[in-house]
């Protein structure tokens, strides 16, 4: 069936900001979909509030709306654009929920928009757990298949929950409907658990519905990725087996593809059930995933759930098999059938087949618990990981070890060095699923644990356990070999041991191992991911390394550029860096280079085999990168390697690559050092006469106190050896400083900086070609300095800085760029305090804000940077039209739209963690609001990040003393807008004295009043408050008001009420609310903004 001709325009909904459970996999799927739809000649209208996505690049759609993904805003877009169809299945749960809301509100009908990809009933049947269970029972009954659902009861109230226990017994699983990544779900072992989890779950579910379910902890867990077309052709793209059994969310489990511990009979039964279910649910076209649990003792099979849309797993399955699920789902949605779509990889065979793998794929999650003190670190039914890495090998052991080192985290790889803890302790630790459990198990094996003991502790399938024993035996073999012969090394390499691991085991240097290995001629080969286990020749070079027989890297004559990606998403290094890498690839390919991408993050657009001329799915360690470079050098000329775009990961490899003779293009490793190393950078600043906050270094308490004395309190302290602001604190007095220093690991120096209180923080992204500076954008933070730039909101163009300030910023940035020797992108963070412009830090690389700036100013900064790195001058790029002919991001016209970036924080995942912002970054993603007026832009950013700002109701205000003066004005604005103001005593006094009516509410620490007056926290929990303003008191570790604030904020997260923690944020919010109340908030596409800006 060919393409439908009755549809001309399609609205695609993206997934919004990166949050836990919904990350850049939806940028990957959405980008693919937009590409397909445009290639097919449709008018594509896109809405996504996330500016860091590739999909929101103006060239991927005809009209790109970076607007909040709420039914209200999407309706405005529909009213304006009048699309024929809405494709809701590629933007995760966000898109699906929005589509359901639009349908239910009658919007789709009113504007005659057809849902394509999945219809309303199918979404209901797939997502409503109750309906879904009926479907499973029906197909099992009618087709005689082995399938059931876990016994369960649907509850809408707490009383129903308690009643259900008698039937199901403890432990049981609590699961809210229509949430993604398991928000609000968990195991209840007793009534206290049940009240807590089910209560929150009822809140989290958009339908106030939770499901209580019998626990099947410890069963084997599987997932199938299924595609169906409108001719009812169905294929299974991939099977995935979770190494962590039932009880750990798939997103947090180590998983492997294909499934490895099923016989054909069991696998085919699963396949039959999956197909029967997708038919019964009525997903007419597109991809969906179905999860299964299998009892390892009996083979009894339970269908856990299905998602009638593409998902994180489908991105993984696409990368694991080379079968692009989202792309094909988009084609199916517009009418094609599977047999009409060619398999991109072979070109000759159709997409109506099931990929077969001759390699093993392992995915490992990456967590960020260190950022969330107080969070429960046990892995359970709701997802907690912030990213993942995938690796491919010719055996499970090879893939697993590659995957672990792809995590790029200390202690993620197996180790055979160092003390071994006691066996019983290790076994006890293995019982509780946690980040790095496989390594704990490996240590237990070192300590003498047996396979039965490990099985008893973990329920992990004996086959996987044996693989750990195999690795242990190989390590011992390696340790005991008299000499590192070619045979010994080869064997270790085939099991995925890195040079570093081999060195560690042999007590020699990693570099020695590498030299020896190269001297023996032992290098990996590169095999192709070809969808067909080599049955047909692959035309698309998507490669992975293995110590195998034949290399399949094609020969070529074009100059090649190797781009190093950014690895697994983590807090501080996410999709923004992938964006920069992808842009570089697109642009360099356009400029005639052959582009080679290296990355190991399966969620990204960079690891789409369609993005670059060649893709290496490889860890980003020195060893793995050197081998890729070598393989590429063997097959053609390599112009250079780009390390500046993938964030800190590739940047950290720069010097070592250069030392190994690899051409690093752009800013040289020596220049990178100048910017990164404090002493060297201090000299650069001194040379340019640019001030930095006074600072010193201390190893002891006494030294720290002396530095503090010198620079003056408050001070910002951080351990010098950690990156990304981990372990940072703002300290106001000797006592706290003493405590902080005492808590540091012995001997490591601590950096002590003068903390610039109430300073305006400014972020700058710029391009430098050695002669000219292009100021990409100057962003003014809404929150004052002291809140990590990644976590604070910012406005571009800056709202309070004058042209004089911009001039100073430009001069300072240019001085730094030239002093450091930048070729390409530079990011500088400044703090403006009492008229002085201090330099906080400079990053000689693409920054997190590059995509935001690019979108806000309609200039593709990363593309330009890539060209500069390969020798183009800014003048040339201006002449080409890539950069504006005159002016730059510092000279935006006064009537330019204002873009506001807002950070999105994962506190709803980490209950109990204080949500106060600080110098340590904790956000997972960001959104952008853009409008002619700042207030509206800010309001849009809030709507996109947290849900709309309230325009009426009750505001509760409780601020620290230092903020009392500054809050008066914005709180009065709220009162004038009709808000009823509630405040704690001190705050209320100040407000009243200034003519703002405020009702006093008891502090939480005061307890309920004699007449039963509730405390602030109780009011929040009872849902009586619509907006909360609470700024933190004092310093960490204090009790009293500090703790009060903590309880207020925790309650806010629990109830999902907007909670503003800075006065500047409050002022912005007040302006936003005012704007909303005043009049109609419109929508405008990026293309329209660009038209206005660049003509």
């Amino acid at each position: 069936m060919p393409k439908r001709e009755d549809i001309r325009s399609v609205l695609v909904i993206g997934s919004g900001p990166i949050v836990i459970g919904q990350a850049c996999e939806f940028d990957y799927s959405g980008t693919q979909a937009c590409r397909v739809l445009r290639d097919e000649g449709f008018r594509v209208i896109l809405v996504n509030s996330n500016p860091a996505t590739i999909m929101t690049d103006p060239e991927f759609a005809d009209a790109t709306y970076v607007e909040p993904i709420t039914p209200e805003f999407v309706e405005k877009i529909i009213a304006k654009e009048r699309p024929d169809a809405l494709l809701p299945t590629l933007g995760g749960q966000t898109a699906l929920n929005t589509a359901v809301a639009l349908h239910e509100a009658g919007v789709l009908e009113r504007y005659d928009v057809e849902l394509i990809g999945a219809d309303f009933d199918a979404i209901q049947a797939g997502e409503n757990r109750e309906k879904f269970k009926e479907i499973v029972a029906k197909v099992a009954r009618e087709r005689g298949l082995n399938a059931e659902s876990a016994r369960s009861v649907v509850c809408h109230t707490m009383d129903e929950c308690l009643a259900a226990v008698s039937e199901l017994g403890y432990p049981l699983v609590v699961r809210p409907s229509f949430t993604m990544g398991g928000v609000g779900s968990g195991f209840a072992y007793d009534e206290t658990d049940l009240r807590r989890i089910a209560g929150a779950g009822l809140d989290a579910s958009p339908t106030t519905e939770v499901l209580l379910e019998e626990s099947i902890l410890g069963w084997k867990e599987y997932e199938l990725e299924v595609m169906r077309d409108r001719h009812d052709n169905v294929v299974i793209v991939c099977s995935i087996e979770n190494i962590d059994p039932m009880g750990v969310h798939t997103g947090d489990s180590v998983t492997v593809a294909p499934a490895l511990t099923l016989t054909d009979r069991e696998y085919q039964n699963m396949r039959d059930v999956a197909i029967a279910v997708i038919r019964e649910v009525g997903v007419d076209t597109g991809g969906c995933n179905i999860q299964f649990a299998v009892d390892p003792r009996t083979g009894r099979m339970i269908v856990i759930e299905m998602n009638p849309r593409v998902s994180r797993s489908s991105a993984l399955a696409s990368k694991a098999t080379g079968f692009p699920i989202a792309k094909i789902a988009a084609k199916l949605a517009i009418g094609y059938t599977l047999d009409e779509i060619p398999n991109d990889i072979t070109k000759e065979t159709p997409a109506s087949f099931e990929p077969t793998l001759d390699y093993i794929v392992v995915k490992v999650p990456r967590f960020a618990f260190e950022k969330f003190k107080g969070a429960d670190q046990t892995l359970t039914t709701h997802m907690k990981s912030v990213g993942e890495a995938m690796a491919i090998g010719r055996s499970f052991s090879e893939a697993l070890q590659k995957a672990l080192r792809s995590l790029e985290k200390k202690d993620s790889s197996f180790t055979w060095a160092g003390e071994i803890a006691g066996k019983q302790d290790l076994l006890a630790a293995c019982r509780v699923p946690h980040d790095g459990r496989l390594r704990t198990m490996q240590q237990a094996i070192r300590a003498g644990a047996g396979a039965e003991e490990l099985f008893e502790a973990t329920s992990i399938d004996p086959w996987f356990l044996d693989q750990l024993f195999l690795l242990h035996e190989e390590a011992q073999e390696l340790a005991g070999a008299p000499e590192l012969t070619a045979g010994v090394l080869q064997r270790a390499k085939r099991h995925g041991f890195s040079d570093a691991q081999i060195g560690e085991i042999r007590g020699i240097d990693e570099a020695r191992v590498r030299d020896l290995r190269h001297a023996l001629g032992l290098r990996p080969v590169y095999n192709t991911v070809d969808t067909c286990a080599a049955e047909f020749a692959a035309k698309t070079p998507y490669l992975y390394s293995a110590y195998d027989e034949e290399s399949e890297v094609p020969y070529g004559t074009r100059q090649k550029v190797i781009i190093l990606g950014s690895g697994p998403n983590r807090i501080g290094q996410g999709i923004e860096f992938d964006y920069a890498c992808v842009h570089a690839s697109f642009e360099l390919s356009r400029a005639g280079f052959e582009t080679v991408m290296v990355n190991c993050n399966p969620e990204t657009v960079s690891t789409d085999y369609d993005t670059s001329d060649r893709l290496y799915f490889e860890p980003l360690t020195l060893e793995d990168v050197l081998e890729v470079v070598h393989a590429e050098q063997q097959t053609g000329p390599v112009a250079g390697v780009i390390v500046q775009l993938g964030g800190q990961t590739p940047l950290g490899l720069a010097q070592a690559l250069k030392d190994a003779g690899v051409p690093v293009v752009g800013t040289s490793p020596e220049s990178i050092h100048l910017a990164e190393e404090r002493g060297a950078f201090g000299r650069v600043l001194a040379e340019a006469a640019l001030p930095a906050p006074k600072h010193g270094t201390a190893t002891t308490v006494a030294e720290a106190l002396a530095v503090a004395e010198d620079v003056g309190y408050p001070v910002l302290v951080r351990p010098s050896y950690v990156l990304g602001g981990a372990g940072m604190a703002i300290v106001y007095d000797d006592e706290t400083l003493t405590t902080y220093m005492a808590a540091q690991e012995g001997g490591h120096p601590v950096l002590v900086d003068k903390f610039l209180d109430e300073a305006i923080e400014i972020d700058v992204d710029a391009l430098y070609d050695g002669a000219e500076l292009y100021l990409g954008g100057v962003m003014e933070h809404i929150e004052e300095a002291g809140i990590h730039s990644g976590d604070s909101a910012c406005a571009l163009p800056p709202i309070t800085l004058g042209s004089h300030d911009i001039k100073r910023i430009r001069a300072a940035t240019e001085a730094i760029a030239s002093g450091v020797g930048v070729r390409g992108l530079l990011n500088v963070q400044y703090a403006m305090s009492a008229g002085v412009l201090y330099v906080l830090e400079a990053n000689p690389r693409a920054s997190r804000t590059v995509p935001f700036v690019s979108k806000a100013t309609a200039v593709p900064l990363a593309k330009a940077a890539a060209r500069v790195m390969l020798g183009a001058t800014l003048a040339e790029l201006r002449a080409e039209g890539m950069l504006p002919a005159t002016g730059d991001g510092g000279t935006l016209p006064l009537d330019a739209s204002i873009a506001v970036k807002e950070a999105v924080l994962p506190f709803n995942r980490f209950r109990g963690v204080d949500i106060v912002l600080g110098p340590e970054m904790r956000s997972t993603g960001e959104v952008m609001g853009i409008d002619e007026f700042f207030g509206i832009a800010f309001a849009k950013s809030q709507a996109a990040a947290y849900g709309e700002l309230p325009t009426k109701g009750r505001a509760f205000v409780s601020v620290a003393n230092r903020d009392k003066r500054a809050m008066i004005f914005p709180v009065r604005a709220l009162a004038d807008l009709g808000f009823e103001i509630l405040a704690t005593e001190g705050t209320a006094e100040v407000l009243r004295r200034n003519g703002v009516r405020a009702k006093i509410v008891r502090k939480h620490s005061e307890g309920t009043g004699p007449g039963g007056e509730p405390t602030s926290v109780q009011c929040i929990l009872d849902g009586e408050i619509d907006l909360i303003v609470n700024t933190p008191f004092g310093s960490p570790g204090q009790s009293g008001p500090r703790l009060d604030g903590y309880d207020i904020r925790t309650a806010a997260v629990l109830r999902g009420i907007p909670c503003i923690t800075t006065v500047s944020g409050l002022a912005a919010a007040a302006a936003g609310i005012q704007a909303i109340v005043r009049g109609d908030v419109g929508v405008r596409s990026l293309q329209e903004h660009a038209q206005a800006l660049r003509g």
């Binding site: 299974i236 016989t263 077969t356 001759d358 499970f396 286990a533």
Partner: protein
Amino acid sequence: MTNPATGAVLVLEDGRAFHGTPYGAVGETFGEMVFNTGMTGYQETLTDPSYHRQIVAMTAPHIGNTGVNDEDPESGRVWVAGYVVREPSRVVSSWRADRSLDDYLKEQGVVGIAIPGTRALTRHLRERGAMRAGIFTAPAEPLEDLVERVRQAPAMAGADLAAEVATTEPYVVPALGAKRFTVAAVDLGIKGMTPHRMAERGCEVHVLPATATFEQIMAIRPDGVFLSNGPGDPATADVSALRAVLEARVPFFGICFGNQLFGRALGLSTYKLRYGHRGVNQPVQDVRTGKVEISAHNHGFAVEAPLDGPFDTPYGPAEVSHVNLNDRCVEGLRLLDGRAFSVQYHPEAAAGPHDAAYLFDEFCEVMSRAQA
């Protein structure tokens, strides 16, 4: 190279050799080298009689993980001439397993080898076509002598093997539930699942030796005649009994080798594919409905037939009913009147997906129409 090859080695007739470690029984073995791309179902594959005289390499790296059980074999023994894998499992993990694959291969005397280069081997076969090979687990001769010995092994083209694998005595698989039909199934290398699938649909299946004559077939008064899969070159087989069946207008259904024989009975020719189809993921399209089935395959030969429409045969007009979408190879034939049809692939699956199981229903419908 005059030294004896060291360690176990897989030697191809064109001289390429892959070194590895012994797996299963030790010794040496010869056969046609083929690869199978299925990721599940090694037990079914090993016991599929169509693999007789073939050395099978598995492209999936980990083999043996779920061990071997007594329920899944497709026949009473392992038929492959030799087995090539990459990562043999060291443990058995399945609640249904009775023993390890390694033990099973040893017990069955099947010589195997584990080599790292299974992908290189597959690519080699893909480029050069199927060829003879030998596995030597402890070779005493130099490599070139081994190559010479491989070259002396019999080739598959022209081989008549059905009789070697088929039952010598007829036996009956009773219908499950009420009996509706009597089926004469000629065993050319039949898999256990095939009569089972028919029995599930109320067929009493009389499995007859490969040499069964028309008279022997008709003696059981069948409602339908079935020709199974099997090894060897279809060009060598005698199709006179089948011709007589078609002449007698008895409903007919054939699978794999049975499809090739049906083609020959219709006057079509068969040819050897470069490297065959062996796996469980092949897209086959039903020409009439346009629907695609994911199907299990195991064939090295195929039927040559016009793809562009019906053609005449001695039994009336016929057509190609199914086509492989990967290479447009003929996957099914049918007399337009519907009473006889066959497919090149495996609707009984085992191993493989069940998408084509409806063909057994069609066979039953044809028989039921003929009964009426």
